[in-house]
């Protein structure tokens, strides 16, 4: 029997996707979608690109509407506490929801600076964040300092540079995006930044901000001062799971799940009727011993489809079918260069360069661990990715079968 009332907490990609998938798969019970932001559900990848550039607004990045699907959408409603014992969810407005099944889809938030910051220091995770930073970039004499050259920081620096704003990009590692895609591709990205006039400062970090009340720049660990009218902190993301502390769910940053996305309790057993999806979850993958956290757009979509199947799996129908082996994918657009990736490059111990052509804006790198293919990244060469996909799926399937046979 499927649950009578399913509550999905989090109304971004993974949450709305789960709610839609439940209806598409035939769930006809009560369905509530709770989101903490005031806006109707929207897609986040454009925030650091077209939204920041002013090319798109909320209407252009809306997620497919949930209207007409019999979904009770509650925006501006942050979840504050989950009680497993009596199956309730507390919201910030003091109200309480009873549930028969619950899906945690509260995503992630920008990692904050560990001390109070002056005005003009931003993070970028929400539509309101993107609008606020856009206003800064449009101001006369704007100068942007971006702290952290991961995907988000690198994209935002590229967007600002293309708007004609002077940009300094500070990164603790020796190359941008190196933790995610390695030093070869990181070197490629570094050259794109420098060609565009971005002052890239690597191997150093930010020591402190300057300016009283309103930021005027920052002092780096090497003692130099970088002037700026605005600062973007792009220090990574933290799963939005603080509201689950003390709930009894096993947390390792994100909610620790089994391969179906079912939440685990602190004793490692499956919690009945509670799932987690997207950035708020971590789950096993054949290439890791424990669980893996991927902040990928594609993972959120896949998790949503699996979650709906699990929730609607009839009791008495036997074991849940094994979920398909996912081939993760992610992308990044900078300076008109389309980086596209499959697999798990960040787990590799070796990168092999197939093509490296900065003037031609083309790149193809494969990633290996113990000699085995685990990922691939291309720039403006998506055509070449397709051939790698079945190879990666096979490799991951073999790994899973081998692990199961142990």
């Amino acid at each position: 029997m499927s649950p009578r009332h399913i509550v999905v907490v989090g109304a971004s990609l993974a949450g709305t996707g789960t709610a839609r998938a439940l209806r598409e798969q035939g769930f006809d019970g009560r369905l509530t979608l709770v989101g903490d932001e005031p806006h109707p559900p929207y897609d986040r990848p454009p925030l650091s690109k077209q939204l920041l550039a002013g090319e798109r607004e909320i209407g252009d990045i809306a997620l497919p509407p949930t209207d007409g699907l019999g979904i009770e959408l509650r925006t501006g409603a942050a979840a504050t506490a989950l009680r497993l014992a009596d199956r309730t969810l507390a919201l910030a407005d003091g109200s309480r929801l009873d549930w028969d099944a619950l899906v945690v889809a509260t995503g992630a938030a920008a990692r904050p600076w560990p001390a109070p910051v002056p005005g003009g220091v931003h993070t970028l995770r929400t539509l309101d964040d993107a609008r606020a930073l856009r206003r800064e970039l449009a101001a006369e004499g704007a100068r942007l300092l971006v702290v952290g050259a991961g995907f988000l920081g690198s994209e935002a620096a590229a967007t600002a540079a293309e708007l004609g704003v002077p940009v300094t990009l500070v990164e603790a590692e020796e190359l941008p995006m190196a933790r995610g895609i390695g030093t070869v591709a990181g070197g490629f990205v570094a050259r794109l930044h420098r060609e565009a006039g971005v002052e890239l400062r690597t191997g150093t970090t930010l020591r402190s901000f300057t300016g009283a009340g309103r930021v005027t720049g920052a002092v780096l660990e090497d003692g130099t001062h970088v002037p700026a009218t605005a600062v973007l902190l792009a220090l990574g993301a933290v799963p939005g799971t603080a509201w689950l502390r003390g709930s009894g769910l096993l947390l390792d940053g994100a909610v620790v799940c089994d391969e179906h996305g079912r939440a685990l309790a602190e004793d490692g057993t499956v919690v009945p009727d509670v799932l987690a999806v997207g950035d708020a979850s971590r789950r096993p993958h054949p290439l890791t011993d424990g669980t893996l956290h991927l902040g990928h757009w594609s993972a959120a979509v896949e998790h949503a489809a699996v979650a709906a199947r699990v929730l609607l799996h009839p009791a008495g129908a036997g074991e849940l079918p094994e979920p398909p082996v996912a081939v993760p994918s992610f992308w990044s657009d900078q300076y008109g260069v389309r980086f596209r990736s499959l697999g798990l490059p960040h787990l590799a111990d070796e990168a092999r360069t197939v093509e490296y052509d900065v003037p031609g804006r083309r790149l193809e790198v494969t990633y290996h661990r113990d000699g085995e293919l685990v990922g691939v990244l291309t720039a403006n060469r998506t055509r070449r990715l397709a051939a790698y996909r079945p190879r990666l799926a096979d490799a991951f399937r073999h790994r899973r079968a081998a692990a199961a046979a142990l």
Binding site: W297, S298, S329, W331, R381, T382, R383, A386, R389
Partner: protein, 69 residues
């Protein structure tokens, strides 16, 4: 069933090519090539639906008799 791709939205993510290579492919410069007419074969249609659903920029829409499917 007919496929429509909004080329102003397409960013060459390739998810449609992975899902339904019979209907989606790239030329040498990553421009998407589409075989728009989908035969009445349920396996092919399922693959095309998956392709539309996987598009990160929702550039792929499906139409039956002139209406969105």
């Amino acid at each position: 069933m007919r496929i429509h791709v909004d080329m102003n939205r397409c960013e060459s993510h390739g998810q449609c090519v992975f899902a339904a290579p019979e209907h989606f492919s790239f030329d040498e410069d990553d421009n998407l090539l589409v075989v728009e007419d989908v035969p009445a074969d349920e396996a092919v249609r399922a693959a095309v639906r998956e392709a539309a659903a996987a598009c990160p920029v929702r550039a792929v829409t499906l139409h039956t008799d002139g209406t969105a499917a």
